[in-house]
Symmetry: C2
Subunit: 578 residues, 2 copies
């Protein structure tokens, strides 16, 4: 009996059962025990949602996964493009009284509200998770102890962070529910290994407006050197529900986009006053202090040394006539990262993409047989590391053999966009949607574009895709603040032929301008050479050439001392001025 | 007895009476009979809202009017900054059950919903307009007949527009309520003189999904040559309510931001199904067809000839040592416009601002004694014309006597921003917030900025501030389309010293790029010389210098044939390359 028919057999009162990718922590990455979408459908992408009806399996995935999903789901599955025909449209077309069963731990309150608004005739009914009931050999939940980050890495104690956060919301609410594990990790200066690619413990917390903390995690999982300060209760996760029930009459701050619908419903049932707002840890976590940024800088120098060694190795291998496959390349790259102090794991699944494979911006060589490098063309590698001190994310597109003039032309357009955004100066209050143009302008002028965002936030030894700030076409109304970290990753993709992306991480700092407004600019965090062999210098302005040569010189100055003589000699050539 | 105490005496069941600037058509400009805010408070600005409580008068105005409002309202009035402490905050702090009386014809459904959400404890109660009850010598409502635009100016008959609009919403609704007079004016190809600065008749309409039109306007107001096509009923405005009441069970499309709350309430009371969406005329009206754009081009050549004559006259007057005042200058400017064919009236109150007055971006010389031109400094003039064939809006900042190096520096930064936006190329789907950066970048890089939007839409012989598109810092989610018209108006303002703004109107057209995406660019509509005496050429790139010289040469080529020999000689010098 297949999982699908098993679920169908158990539907009972429901007309369909909903299987979101997310678990109760609503994040991008999941422990194996919560990979329910993959268990039910076979689809292993990092986003999507399925619906098991009495008749068949439906699945919604985004443009990154249109090819992959077809090879993974059972025959007869109906595949829907997630953005073009969203599941809310499907709900809207269901008959009156249709009962969709779902585990309302695994859907945010905001998303559930949107569905209910789009499809008022549908009954969305919470029930015990049907997938879990069908999952005989479900992997164990994580249970390893976490680890603490010292104040030398975080700059602030948990006590101090609690007091500052509490002051921030005291006017609005008596309690704040922190439902996201990375918010709680940042607040407590604790990390863990519960979730691949994101070093956190699966914790939630209630913070009072006088700084009192109720931390929901098994005591056994806290490291001995955890320093939470005074006025903290560590409570078993299962006790959260009774604590929420005890908040009757209290104003409780909830971020409805980051909180399971079930917890919001429980708060309402307990007659607490739900105050909607932003998770109070979100902005302080995103706008990093000087100590956090220093740790991120050091992380990037270690990571830079590792990736530089890989690029040197790659050049030698290619020069010797070999064309290794994407798996070999990804493993070689990680071997250099593993040799760095404090390295934990990749910060996301490495995109190691040879030739035409790189035309899929989120290509994963593990979804099929890995390809070998082309004789001539591009190799795109987008990868990052989680270190105990910080997180990295970098993309380089490497010339293998000879490039065509057109490939150089497009590589240079992407580089010009990267430089444009990296050189931006902007006033206080600017939001990410206002800067997106800079990275696209050179491509747009010639009728090219890329269908993904330009810049996402990055945590410190936390999520490599951290909100709330974002640089993209769509509106993002969180002003850019000093200490925020952004990726800068314009690209160009030609289906069936090649893909190009150049990505650094940058942080935001103040810029001393003579005018009367406060100005900010970006400082590079990533120091890894950008392949000069793809550059058509005749397309670049003097300012762009100066930016490029300065950057490469800085790479040599910062990374040179961290690598062996042979690699340094390679790097010096790789960083020679254009 | 003052108006305020008269209203207070009539409050009755209400704790306060609300006086918005808007009338039942919710627009920026009003007939004299509906200038209720000015009648009650004395404040003559184009936006604001007042609340008459039992104790006192409160008024909310935006940053443009903080100086002016103090000189106009009665002593003891409490003045609130509209954006920093909005009236919704004030409502939120009112006691439980507080009764705010208001005429729900004069508040949009969206705004009322926002107030109700912000202040659930307040009772917002519709009542017969208390202001009108206190207004003994209220001016008469407009009654003049309108005029028709021929298809040579509009490109499409009313019949054709009705059919196209109806197709657009037929899937969603059986009827659409067009509550805005400029939407109805565009749909019917009718114009009028009911409202200063916006040549419309105060009409509403109901359009059915098969193209049937119920037009609510007195038959006597339609011109003899009105060509509405078949299947049109012209009904007295007072009959709208009974027509809405007859829509029981029908799906009716309503734009809640553009429709009085009262009409939406009436629809709901009649058990119609209110479908919220965009006014179906909004996008077709904004994205003008080739005929409409041709008419706008011709409008701008006439307007360019008029303004060029004014600038020539101004230079001669200044050279002779005279320094006329702002009123004289504004009247001289309008005298040239009045001499042009088809000129109707100004498209907004002319901003004629000498020296430090221009530091107020929306300075109005009629709010005090007009100032004389400075011996040395800037004169800023922002003005526009309504013509039977189109609408204009242009700002020029003119060097009077000698400028300082710093004035030239800032003038050039503004010009660079203007050129940057004017030169933009962008892909299909781009929204205004994505391009705003271009106009600000040169200022931002040195720590300067301006606190207003960069570009607004403009109608054809309709509103000079036409939505829904907009270029600004804030998100605007209406993609830019070919045929849309935008202003391009970066500026710089130094309080107490001077103000600079350079504004052209532009339309959007397709650009043939070699890539795989559809690209658009701007085409200038405005042809009026930009004062070269403010330009510091050393600050400009070669591309910027070429743009400027090309533009000035085009001005000479297009406007030269439309002016007399003396003016042409002056223009040739004004347009000489830098």
């Amino acid at each position: 009996m297949s999982v699908i028919s098993d679920i169908q057999a158990k539907l009972g009162q429901f007309d369909a059962w909903l299987v979101p990718h997310e678990d109760a922590f609503l994040g991008e990455y999941l422990p194996a025990a919560n990979e329910r979408l993959a268990f039910v459908t076979g689809f292993t992408g990092s986003a999507g949602v399925a619906l098991v009806t009495k008749e068949k399996l439906h699945i919604w995935v985004d443009g990154r996964y249109t090819v992959q999903v077809k090879t993974q789901v059972p025959q007869g599955t109906e595949i829907h493009p997630l953005h073009e025909t969203p599941i809310s449209d499907f709900f809207a077309d269901l008959p009156d009284g249709f009962k969709v069963g779902f585990d309302s731990y695994c859907v945010s309150s905001r998303v559930l509200n949107q569905w209910r608004e789009a499809a008022p005739q549908v009954n969305f009914v919470h029930g015990a998770n049907l997938v879990d009931a069908c999952w005989a050999c479900r992997p164990a939940m994580p249970s390893a102890a976490g680890f603490a980050l010292s104040e030398k890495l975080t700059g602030k104690s948990c006590q101090q962070k609690r007091s500052e956060l509490a002051k921030g919301f005291a006017k609005k609410a008596q309690w704040a529910l922190l439902a996201q594990p990375d918010s709680v990790a940042w607040l407590t200066n604790l990390r863990g290994s519960d979730i691949p690619c994101m070093p956190v413990l699966m914790m939630r917390a209630l913070l009072s407006s006088d700084g009192h903390l109720k931390l929901f995690v098994e005591q056994s999982r806290l490291p001995a050197d955890a320093d939470l300060g005074s006025d903290v209760e560590v409570l078993p996760p299962a006790q959260l529900n009774s604590e929420l029930a005890a908040l009757k009459g209290k104003k409780v701050l909830v971020d409805e986009g980051l909180t399971p619908a079930l917890l919001v419903d429980e708060l309402k049932a307990s007659e607490a006053v739900v105050v909607l707002g932003t998770d109070p840890a979100l902005i302080p976590k995103a706008a990093k202090n000087a100590v956090e940024i220093d740790a991120m800088r050091e992380t990037h120098l270690r990571d830079g040394a590792a990736v530089t060694q890989f690029l040197c190795w790659l050049d030698n291998v290619v020069a010797s006539g070999e064309r290794p496959d994407e798996l070999v390349l990804a493993e070689q790259l990680e071997s250099y990262r593993k040799a760095q102090d404090d390295y934990l794991e990749p910060s996301f699944d490495t995109i190691s993409a040879a030739g035409a494979n790189a035309a899929l911006p989120h290509y994963n060589f593990r979804n099929g047989a890995p390809s070998n490098l082309p004789q001539n063309g591009f190799y795109l590698v987008d990868s990052g590391g989680q270190y105990r001190i910080g997180t990295t994310d970098v993309t380089r597109t490497i010339a293998i053999g000879e490039l065509t003039e057109e490939q150089k032309h497009l590589y240079t357009l992407v580089l010009k966009g990267h430089i444009g955004l990296g050189s931006a100066r902007f006033v206080k209050g600017t939001c990410g949607h206002q800067l997106d143009y800079l990275a696209r302008a050179p491509l747009w002028a010639e009728g090219y574009d890329y269908d993904h965002g330009t810049g996402h936030g990055v945590g410190q030894c936390l999520s490599v895709h951290e909100g709330p700030q974002r640089i993209g076409k769509a509106a993002n109304n969180y002003p850019i603040l000093p200490g925020m970290v952004f990726s800068n990753e314009p690209g160009y993709y030609r289906e069936g032929h090649f893909g190009i992306r150049t990505e650094n991480l940058m942080t935001v700092e103040k810029f001393a301008a003579k005018g009367d407004r406060q100005v900010m600019c970006f400082e590079n965090l990533t120091y890894i050479p950008i392949d000069r062999r793809g550059v058509d210098k005749t397309m670049m302005s003097e300012a762009e050439i100066a930016w490029f040569n300065d950057y490469q010189a800085e790479v040599l100055a910062k990374i040179g001392p961290r690598i062996d003589d042979n690699t340094r000699q390679w790097l010096a050539e790789a960083c020679a001025p254009i």
